[in-house]
Amino acid sequence: MTAGSNQTPLLEVRNLRVEFPTRRGTLVAVDDVSFSIAPGEVLGVVGESGAGKSLTGAAIIGLLEPPGRIAGGEVLLEGERIDNLPYERMRRIRGARIGAIFQDPLTSLNPLYSIGRQLVETIQTHLPLSAAEARKRAIDLLKEVGIPAAESRIDHYPHQFSGGMRQRVVIALALCANPRLIVADEPTTALDVSIQAQIIALLKRLCREHGTAVMLVTHDMGVIAETADRVAVMYAGRLAEIGPVRDVVKNASHPYTRGLMGSIPSLGVRSERLTQIDGAMPRLTAIPTGCAFNPRCPEAGQRCTVERPDLMPAGVTRAACWLYAPGGVGAALTREAANA
């Protein structure tokens, strides 16, 4: 594991807040989220649909769809603040220092241009290479992501590739300028299961070889367990828990994370039924006060409905849960404290 907490983080997100102004008030889609990614580290971000994990990724690369906007907090890349940069300066960072991979490889590529053209234009946007040099680099990249016969395939169009091959091309595009960080938003969700494993293995290998850090956004815990060094669990726009992947998967602290892990089927272990979390994630218009998870939480105490917990140390991980309040005062015990 390359994660080292004493290094300068490659990416640091501090108290990020993403808002969507609507006619009926402002929706807070990402609320006070802080985390960091070390160079070469793979951070998995998991959560249900609508938990704000993709929006966090979009906010980092500066591509929130209007009217969504960063309403607070800051994003630092190698110590430099990037969330408030003008469009043109941020554009030069995208692709060059932060690459991106999107969910659906079938729609990520422009159908009217050959993949070679799309690679070359990306390379030439960020690197001072001649057309011939850029083409050579494009062929090398295609070879690296495992496209057979790259020299001839480079002139093919996206529709001439299968879904898995297209995602390889997308990964090559993200790697064009050798970025330090890749934000991968559900990179395997649209693929067949057999292809998913290949793409994950490829992504893992490339990032290890290039020393590229990855923010891997997904709802697939299997992918996270396979790939990530650390995991951040999001719920209703907030961080519920963050910690090393082993500890979060095997020994989760936050009741939500435990529920999430309990709902994953595992081979070999033959249990009657999977556990499930009762209820559904709240809508952004009706996030409960206190801890957003409290109405569904089996261990919620009174304090949980009143006061919002910050991330606090909970064993090896850090969890936003009053069960781990400093001094060992759990949520249930604080009921009296809140009454007093």
Binding site: R94, A100, S108, G163
Partner: protein
């Protein structure tokens, strides 16, 4: 690809034959051509001889084949009105109409496409909303009214532009052109705007809605994530993806511009084919009308074949054999 071209050509021939049938029946059922050709005092016998000589007693299919055969060689007989060969009459008028149509089409494309791109990229900007509103007027105003208003302002009040005719023309072989004299160019301005205005607004609105659609696609979002410049995204990636529908409509509209130049040519007394057609209708000059019909059908067919071939140039998915089947597959 070759099979496709051959199939399209066969379809074109079928279309032209169908139009030929319509044109042919105009001869047979819109009055008796002998009556139009001879005087009142011609005897019945002489009329029969003429009928025989012109082949009008032959069975209809034979006559039709003869008509089509002649039409294919550009022979449409003599005008009832002027007794000149119809082919030559139309050829004389053709440069005026084609030059006018060309200018109108260029005007509508060169102004309409950028306006569409702009309003598509900045749909919420006030100037886009203004252009949208103005374009609604352009779509709903009838052509003749636009022409008359332009004449009123620029010819009557401001006295800047000529109100009728082609101005000075220069002959290059049989082709007479407006493009080589200042007066000729000035004379082109108002008719071109009048003729092209409707198409301009149509193309603008089409490009706008296509741009709005394309800008929402994943590959544009991914192009942004790759850090491409706005110019490369807007014009390289987005605009090219709007081209297939735009080419289709622009092609059809080019045919419409040529065919419906009739109104504009009448308003501006433009000595083109449209004006000739109007005069022929007034005199029931069937050979001219039939020839005009065939010519317009021919132009439409040619434009459509060109449009189909342009699709291949724009969209690689059509180029590869069986490409369409693999678009959705893994």
């Amino acid at each position: 690809m070759l099979a496709f071209v051959l199939r399209r050509l066969a379809q074109s021939v079928a279309v032209l034959l169908t139009v030929g049938v319509v044109a042919f029946f105009m001869f047979r059922y819109v009055g008796d051509p002998i009556n139009a050709m001879v005087g009142q005092d011609t005897s019945l016998q002489e009329r029969d001889e003429l009928r025989q000589k012109l082949g009008l007693n032959d069975p209809a299919p034979i006559q039709f084949l003869r008509f089509i055969g002649n039409a294919a060689q550009g022979k449409f007989g003599l005008s009832y009105r002027t007794s000149e060969p119809v082919g030559r009459m139309i050829l004389e008028r053709m440069p005026a109409t084609l030059e006018l149509s060309f200018c109108a089409a260029m005007f509508s494309l060169l102004v309409g496409v950028p306006m569409g791109v702009y309003t598509g990229l900045y749909p919420r900007h006030w100037s886009s909303k203004l252009l949208q509103a103005v374009s609604l007027i352009g779509v709903s105003l009838p052509t003749f009214l636009v022409g008359i208003l332009l004449i009123l302002v620029f010819a009557v009040f401001l006295r800047l532009l000529p109100s009728f005719g082609r101005g000075e023309t220069v002959d290059i072989g049989w082709w007479s052109t407006n493009f080589l004299t200042t007066k000729g160019l000035l004379a082109l301005i108002m008719p071109s705007i009048t003729l092209g205005l409707f198409q301009l607004t149509l193309i603008m609105r089409l490009v706008r809605s296509e741009m709005l659609e394309v800008m929402r696609t994943d590959f544009i979002k991914f192009a942004r994530a790759r850090g491409l410049s706005n110019r490369a995204i807007n014009f390289g990636h987005a605009l090219k993806n709007t081209l297939v529908p735009v080419i289709t409509i622009a092609g059809l509209q080019l045919g419409a511009i040529i065919a419906f130049a009739v109104v504009t040519e009448t308003v501006f007394a433009w000595p083109g084919m449209g004006q000739l057609f109007i005069q022929s209708v007034q005199f029931a000059d069937i050979p001219v009308m039939a020839a005009y019909l065939m010519l317009i059908a021919f132009l439409f067919v040619v434009i459509n074949v060109i449009v189909d071939l342009l699709y291949f140039l724009v969209d690689p998915r059509l180029r590869s054999q069986g490409g369409a089947a693999r678009v959705s597959g893994h």
